[in-house]
Structures are given as C-alpha cells and as structure tokens.
Amino acid sequence: MTIAFTRLREALTTASVGNVDLPILIHRLRQAHPLPLAGAATQLATLGGDGDATTVAELAFEIASLSPAPQSIACALAAAKLERSAEVLAALALIRERCAEAVGAPIPVAVLVDATLLRVCRDVGAHWDATRIGEPERAEELARRLVQVLGLGIYKEKPETNAARIAALDPARAEDAARAAAVEQKIRASLPPV
C-alpha cells in the first residue's frame, strides 16, 4: 500500500474552504456547557457527517480513553454548536475526502474526528481543562487551534497571524516566562546592592 504522507499531512491541515468569524466561534466556545460523554460522541459524529451507532460508539470510546482534561474539553467542544458553522462542516468534509485520496481508502468518520477535533483537545488539554473555557484567552486559544487544524481562514485577519497568536496564547510559554522571571528575581535579591 502506497501512502502519500505529505498529501495526507496537508489534507489534515489545509482545507481552505472559507473564513470563520472568530468572535462568533469564541463566543460559542465560551457559552458551551460540556455535554455528557454519549451526547458529545453523537454530536462529534454528526459534525463528521455520520450519525451511525457504530461511529458514535467508537467516538464515545475514544473520548472516554482521553485523560480527564482533554476529555472535558472534547465534551465542551462538542457542545459549542459548531454545526452552525458551514465552514467547519465543509472543512471536515474536504479533509475526509482529501485524506481518502491520499490513503487510497475511505476514512472512517471516527478516525477523521479523532485526528482533527480530538487532536485539538489533546493539545490544549495538556495545559488546561474545560473549567477554564469561559476565560477569553483559553476560548480564543481553542478557537484558533481549531481553525488551524481544520485549515480554515479567519475573517479580517492575515493567514500568518493565527500561528503567531496561538504561540502567544500558549499557557506553557507564559508559565515558562513566569518561572524564569521568578528565578531571576530570586537571584537578584540574593546579591548585595551596587
């Protein structure tokens, strides 16, 4: 079996089917009340274009297999009314189509959703959980990472801005900077005044 890896990787991040309205996406995420696991699996399966019971069961299993923080974010993401965004749905459909072309076989919806939407949850879930989704910065980080993974654009924003904003919003970076500042302050305090 020959797999076009570059095409597959590109397919997973370059949908280019339109621009999402970022403030609306952030608002939806902030308003989302996490769904229970079964409801989240049904919603995510529907977003991927397949409400079949087997797909729902598979997604429920994948969500349940996540560690607590990404799992809670997945349940919040599922509740964020993403089905109201034509761009998100179109991007998922296009990614599935392109991945199938690159692999040479149809891609199960559970695999598609896992490799895109749940991947975002795994990434951000390494640093925070759904209890923080109401914070503007965390909701913006999640929204921007979602846009990045789905290969979408953002209205009134240059394409290269998104990656820079994601890096700036990354709480790991802020934690590193705060730790370095604390160490520096402690060392300075231990030195005699000049």
Binding site: F5, L8, A57, V103, R122, V183, R188
Partner: protein, 213 residues
Amino acid sequence: MSAAFPIEEAVAALARAAAASPTAPEGDAARHLTIARALDTLAAHGLSITPERFVVHAAVVDHASSSLDLLVAVLAESERCATAVIDRAKELAAAAHGLSTEAALAHAARAVLIEPATAIARYLPRDVVTLNDFRREELARAWMAAIEVPIECQGKLEAKERSARTLARLDYRKIRADEERLAIERKVLAEHAEAVREKQRIELEALASAQRE
C-alpha cells in the same frame, strides 16, 4: 498481565537505531517506511491493523521531534521488547468492548505507539534522545510508563515504585530546568559584575577629579 519490557535490551536497540538514523526521517518515503515497518511488525506479532485507521494518526505525528521511528525500530529488532509492547496492545484491544475488531486493534496500536511517541516528544525531542544512553533509557522507561508495562532490569522484574523513581531521576525536564536556571544565574551575575565595575569606574573618576582640583 503483559510480559516485562527488558530495559537494557531496549536501550541497546535504541542506540543501534539512533546510530543508523541519527536524524529524523524526512520526506514521504522515510515516513512511509517508518509506518510500513510499524504495521509489518505489529502484523508479525498477530496484530493486523487496517492501514487507513493507523496512517491518518501517524501523519499527524511530528516525525521530526518524535522518536516514533526509534520506537518502531526497537519493536522490529528486539523480539522480547516487541512481545511486551504487543501483548499490552492485545490487552487494550480485548478491553475495548463495543468496538469492531478493526477499530479495537487500531485503537490499541495507536495507544502503544503513536500516542506515547507524541506525548513524550513534547518534552524529550528526538535529537536529545540521540545524545546518550541516559536519554535513551528515559525514552524507553517513559514509553513503558505511558502504556503501563512493567520493566525488567538486569534480569529481574522491577517494582512499579522503583521504575517510577528511576524515571523521575532521569527526567530531562529537570535537567533542562537546571540548565535554564544556571543560564539565568550567569546572566544576572554578569550584569551585577558589570554594574559593580561601572560604579567603581565612576568613583575612581570622581576621586581623580577631586585630586586634580
């Protein structure tokens, strides 16, 4: 319970793999080879995965920073290491009630290979793993901790607590934090020394000026 993972054998296999491929796999062909080798090795041990369920997740892995190719090499080269990991995958697949066999096997294969490689790469990048045996041992132990497989060290089954302590001692994050702290310390001390020198220069100039007057 899974067979124990022979740590010395794994570290030696990782060293050979790192020597044979000092840089990360680049390009389509190299990444395809890694995944094909993974699928072949899993299949040889009775875990046949439908490729499309595995490759989409494998494509998402950052092959440059993850040690996925090195982990796959360990499975391909060491029968005992492969047995321990694939036994664990079979346990995970058997516990996946309600899933089709195809989905359960793919889930298990990802859980023992792709997910640990991705998670470990966040703090222990591939280029660091190639540096020395301490980092290779950390990679092997972190991998086993992630998939909950016991470790065999010097022919003896290691207690879980001991494995956890050894892994904590090896933690590259602590080493990196120490290096960063030392760099900050050097910078602050250099700035302080410069400030002291500058003050002394000003005082000497003021003294010389006062003496001239």
